[in-house]
Amino acid sequence: MPNYNFSPQEMIVVAGARVLENNKVVFAGTGLPMVAITLAQLTHAPGIIPVFEAGAVGPTLNRGLPLSVGCSRTTSKAMYLQGLNAAFELAQRGFCDFGFIGGAEIDMYGNLNSTMIGQFPEAYRRPQLRLPGSGGASDMAASCERTIVIMSHEKRRFKERLSYRTSPGYLDGSPDARQRAGLLGQGPYRVITSRAILGFDEATRRMKLLATMPGETVASVQEHTGFELLVDDNVYPYEPPTQEELRLIREEIDPRGYFIGRKG
């Protein structure tokens, strides 16, 4: 792979920012989603309204990048400041256009695992690897109108079968599976990884390759995916970050490099 002047995390953040539309309400978890939202606010989408599950709605994030969705920096100039119930009730009511989530594993229907690796339910109480748990991810997956998933793109994470389904995507992919389950939002909209931008086929709900990140090809993305991807007819090479996007990330948003890995 050629030597690019940006890290995989920077590419993910830039893609996450670009996919966001102006004047939308975005429910975001800790980490890269916060960087992406801030970048979008500083570029094409100044009207984005962030919602953090711990309680802050619509802050300007000008006190520095929050290190947690519950930390002090989420409240600067917030326009509503309550707690978890209020935040999730907003999502359930339909106020949140996008939810930004992640997980340790994803399947072809956009279902995510952030709970455990091992046999479920047999080994639930003694898993091979215990992960932190749902947090608010399954709530966002259930109730935000559309979700954007950020993933590290490795074969062991893009799996045919999840150990445990924490956050619902299109479930088994059958028509209207989400509606029948009682879920409100439309489901996963984009999966953004270090290797690709992916979406979901309208008919089959299967994950579909839309664009390849710099240095990747359709074949290399498939090679790092543990199930067969659909490939969009118009698959294209994704535009790398601009110098201005990189400057904003490195100098304005995350100057200490908390969430953005630096090229060594």
Partner: protein, 334 residues
């Protein structure tokens, strides 16, 4: 239905028979924990991940070696990590029997070595929920209702290993999840300001602290400072927890350290990393650094003052300044 803390009927009865008068509830933390926390209790852990975690109260529970605890929380980091570390080092001291939770991790600092240790060795009963599920469970309890309908986690495996019930809504006919009320025996809550009667004023996100205080049988509040009652009632809209939902008021400066306490101090990244890496070393079989951490900061001191006295002044000054200054000013200084 097995109620793991108080059943709704027990919770109602306990409250009805409680003295709800407006009286001085100040006491020291050792007495508050000795009075209100019992072996076998279900403990509601307030705060959120590493923010306003009841660290001081948890350290005292460790010193008093409470056993067979059930911990109920949505997202927690430091408080539960400390309890689990004590159990991992000395199973004869503090023990956790069961977890009812949505997220246990140290967020930016990494996943939790202690949750991995407990879960992967089969040392605790687990019951996973989502954050909204847990906050809705506390809210149901605070409302005096046995359950709350909720959209999540429909379609998730989260429901296959907990006590949530799926039903068709009697009005729309579509599926909803019912999550059972969570009435902890005792709640641990850290706030910025309280008066002597227990009225609390919270800065920043409320998390689920008000609901947890009303859900629990007893509530121990630790606060950065006790303020005059007249000052508190000057702005009644700013009282987030009313006095009769509180049983003990303990002034503990730095009571959420090394976590974040909005408007008072930010995370101490240095200390959190020190504690987490000792836990990670323990999980990998090197037990000494975690033991010396506990000996130095928890078992070897009498109270939170003894813990904070050992933190370098410059570290404390730094985390206070982050809260006091605009970020731009901080950056131009560094």
């Amino acid at each position: 239905m097995d109620w793991t803390g108080l059943s709704p009927d027990e919770a109602r009865k306990l409250l009805v028979n409680k003295d709800k008068s407006k009286r001085d509830k100040r006491m020291d933390l050792a007495r508050a924990v000795a009075t209100f926390v019992r072996d076998g209790d279900n403990i509601g852990i307030a705060g959120f991940v590493n923010s306003r975690q009841p660290v001081a109260a948890v350290h005292e529970i460790i010193r008093q070696a409470k056993k067979d605890l059930t911990l109920s929380f949505h997202s927690a980091g430091l408080a539960v990590e400390y309890l689990a570390g004590a159990m991992a080092l000395e199973e004869s001291s503090c023990t956790i029997k069961r977890l009812e939770f949505a997220y246990w991790g140290i967020e930016l600092f990494g996943i939790s070595p202690m949750l991995r240790y407990l879960a992967e060795n089969g040392k605790v009963e687990l019951e996973d929920w989502s954050n909204f599920n847990m906050s809705a469970r506390f809210k149901a309890a605070a409302m005096g209702l046995p359950f709350m309908p909720c959209r999540s986690p429909l379609g998730s495996d989260v429901m296959k290993a907990n006590r949530a019930k799926l039903m068709d809504c009697p009005f729309t006919g579509t599926p909803v999840v019912l999550v059972p009320a969570c009435h902890p025996n005792v709640a641990l809550i850290h706030v910025q300001e309280a008066d002597m009667y227990g009225n609390c004023r919270i800065e920043g996100p409320l998390f689920t602290c008000p609901e947890i205080s009303m859900a629990a049988g007893y509530t121990i509040v630790t606060c950065e400072r006790i303020i005059d009652h007249e000052e508190m009632v000057r702005d009644p809209n700013r009282i987030n927890i009313p006095f009769f939902a509180v049983d003990a008021v303990v002034e503990v400066p730095f009571g959420a350290y090394p976590g974040n306490c909005h408007s008072w101090y930010y995370f101490d990244e240095i200390h959190i990393r020190e504690f987490r890496s000792a836990g990670e070393a323990f999980r990998k079989g090197h037990k000494d650094s975690l033991r010396s951490y506990y000996n130095r900061y928890i078992w070897g001191v009498r109270d939170t003052d003894g813990f904070i006295e050992q933190i370098p002044y410059r570290q404390l000054k730094h985390i206070q300044q982050i809260e006091l200054r605009e970020f731009q000013l901080m950056r131009s200084q560094n």
